[in-house]
């Protein structure tokens, strides 16, 4: 290829799409920071899992998707949701347990979903999304929609039985699904070296006769290039594939984490590899955007988040009399 010096995303996407991608990364970052702050202020009940530092894999993976395409997400799913086009006000409203939230206050942080955008939902069960993603891909194949499903999962989730069963089924039936592993080095406190027999999760793809690739998950360009190739492979009816994005979560696992299993130096090193300034610099270097415009984007993102929080705070709680609504299609008497 003659243009190899020009990064893939610059070649493949229009400036408007790239600016939108950067904006989404800022929105994710500010969303997570806003969530953290709201938690501190006692506005959020329960716990939450923040994806600060993992914005490139969320947004990069969804670049080639339309609203017809599906994703399944994880407990660390706010970024995936935003990447797939969720409304931030409704996301915060769900956090605050409000009727205007994506799950009408019934689900909270771990269950945000937006089927209208093809987002089949975060999941409280590690590995819960694998078979669902494969099922969505089976539907797409049976219905002939041409839709592709991306199944996001963590390094820790790859040790659940559901991972292995699902990859095998996806492979034997050649289903249009892309497994995107966000390998942040840890499942809670347990490092991948301690939990996982293979050094490269992508190597597991071989066992299921599907292509597997590893990329720098903090490099938006690398993630997008690899996942776009997998999405194209799936659309061409070649079947499933796996992309392992090597990344890092800069915050603790959840609100109860004391970070006893990793060093401050390690965290600081990864802070220097923050995916957002890296992507902004790439766009500036290729004259897609100016530094001033990047700052404006960041400010606009902060403003959007502040408005979302305001919307959520002002929203009504669900009615207690309706606590058990939505258990069945029709209310079934006990």
């Amino acid at each position: 290829m003659p243009e190899t010096n020009i990064p893939y995303v610059i070649r493949a996407y229009r400036p408007s799409a790239l600016k939108e991608a950067l904006m989404k990364m800022y929105l994710i970052r500010k969303f997570e920071e806003g969530a953290e702050e709201s938690y501190m202020r006692g506005l959020i009940h329960g716990t939450m899992h923040l994806s600060i530092g993992q914005e490139a894999s969320a947004v990069g993976s969804c670049m080639a998707l339309t609203d017809e395409d599906k994703i399944t997400s994880t407990h660390r799913g706010h970024g995936h949701c935003i990447a797939k086009g969720a409304d931030l006000g409704r996301m915060f409203a769900e956090f605050f347990g409000k009727e205007t939230g994506y799950c009408r206050g019934r689900g909270g942080s771990m269950h945000i979903a937006d089927p209208s955008k093809g987002n089949l939902g975060a999941n409280g069960i590690v590995g819960g999304g694998f078979p669902i993603a494969v099922g969505a891909a089976l539907s797409a194949k049976k219905l002939g929609t041409g839709a592709v499903t991306i199944c996001f999962f963590g390094d820790g989730a790859g040790n659940e039985g559901a991972f292995h069963e699902s990859l095998n089924i996806a492979a034997i039936w050649k289903l249009p699904v892309v497994f995107v592993c966000e390998n942040n080095g840890y499942g809670m406190s347990t490092s991948t070296e301690r939990s996982t027999a293979v050094k490269r999760i992508a190597d597991r793809a071989t066992s299921y006769s599907m292509p597997g690739a590893i990329v720098d998950g903090n490099d938006f360009n690398a993630v997008t290039e690899a996942v776009d190739a997998s999405v194209a492979w799936a659309r061409a009816r070649e079947g499933p594939s796996l992309v392992e994005a090597r990344t890092y979560r800069l915050r603790g696992h959840s609100k109860s984490d004391r970070n006893r299993y990793r060093t401050r130096e390690e965290i600081t090193q990864w802070m220097e590899r923050d995916p957002i300034p890296r992507f902004a610099d790439l766009l500036i270097a290729h004259k897609v955007i100016t530094r001033k415009a990047v700052r404006d984007l960041e400010d606009a993102a902060a403003k959007t988040i502040a408005e979302a929080i305001e919307f959520a705070s002002a929203s009504p709680d669900p009615r207690v009399e309706e606590a058990t609504k939505y258990v069945y299609a029709e209310r079934v008497p006990a």
């Binding site: 771990m110 809670m188 939990s195 006990a334």
Partner: protein, 336 residues
Amino acid sequence: MKALGTPEVRELSYAEAIREALDIALDRDDRVFLMGEDIGVYGGAFQVTGDLVEKHGPDRVMDTPISELGGAGVAVGAAMTGMKPIFEFQFADFAALAMEQIANQAAKARFMLGGSVSVPVVMRFPAGSGTGAAAQHSQSIEAWLGHVPGLKVVQPSVPEDAKGLVLAALEDSDPVMIFEHKILYKMKGHVPAGYYTTPIGKAAVRRTGANLTIVATSVMVWRAIEAAETLAAEGIDAEVVDLRSIRPMDRETVLESVRKTGRLICVYEGVKTLGVGAEVSAMVAESDAFDFLDAPIVRLGGADSPIPYNPQLEKAVVPQVSDILVAARDLTGGRI
């Protein structure tokens, strides 16, 4: 703290009491070891194992990968072959992933193999709602497991029993499932020092009373006691029976209490329908104690619903003190 000549009285939290039991068990018996997700340096999601890994080392306090079916099943296999594993589920809800090994293997091995093997495995399940953790991290699934012959299922409500039941479970040659309520972990109470066991299958009368029996499990024992205090001021004298073990169930203690009071409320957090209260009610209805009843039996259980995230909704779907008060007043008609 301990003055000469006086017995040692110590307050420990429920989580500390369990940790002490685990520590004693690890000290006493080389065959005992702990397995679970993040139970080592992290200390467990609810800090139950705490710093045990520092004392006993990672070979005896083993972090597993996120593999509930594999982890629980490996514990079953080790138990069948001479070890005494204690497996911690990070949340009771994740037992769903391990149900095969629990219900088809651990529970049935002794029977299927004609009594030629034992499965002395202990499993611990942090359960229940009240923490804003929503539908997949808040369930009370003790009745799922209680429905499987071959398993024993206990639900300690106080720190003393939490410790004693862990140690009793380890002495038992059958699989014992311990349901620990998450909102009890920080609750303090008197815990005897040293080694002792709390009998499995034996209920405890937490408050004696003459007019009404409240049979409760786990955190509901506390709500029942609180309700009983209020009722006492209204002239209704309630007896509170802490079931402690749902399989086997202490039939005699329950029947005895009902024969005395003539009224029964069962209160439990698990889903009401097909739950623990149905068993308690049927046990009474099928016995001579039925003749002593002055009023219909009342069950207060969880709604037929997953646990919602919103805190008001979350409260609304499980019995609260106010629900017990309403039921008790209704049952006694305000008059005794």
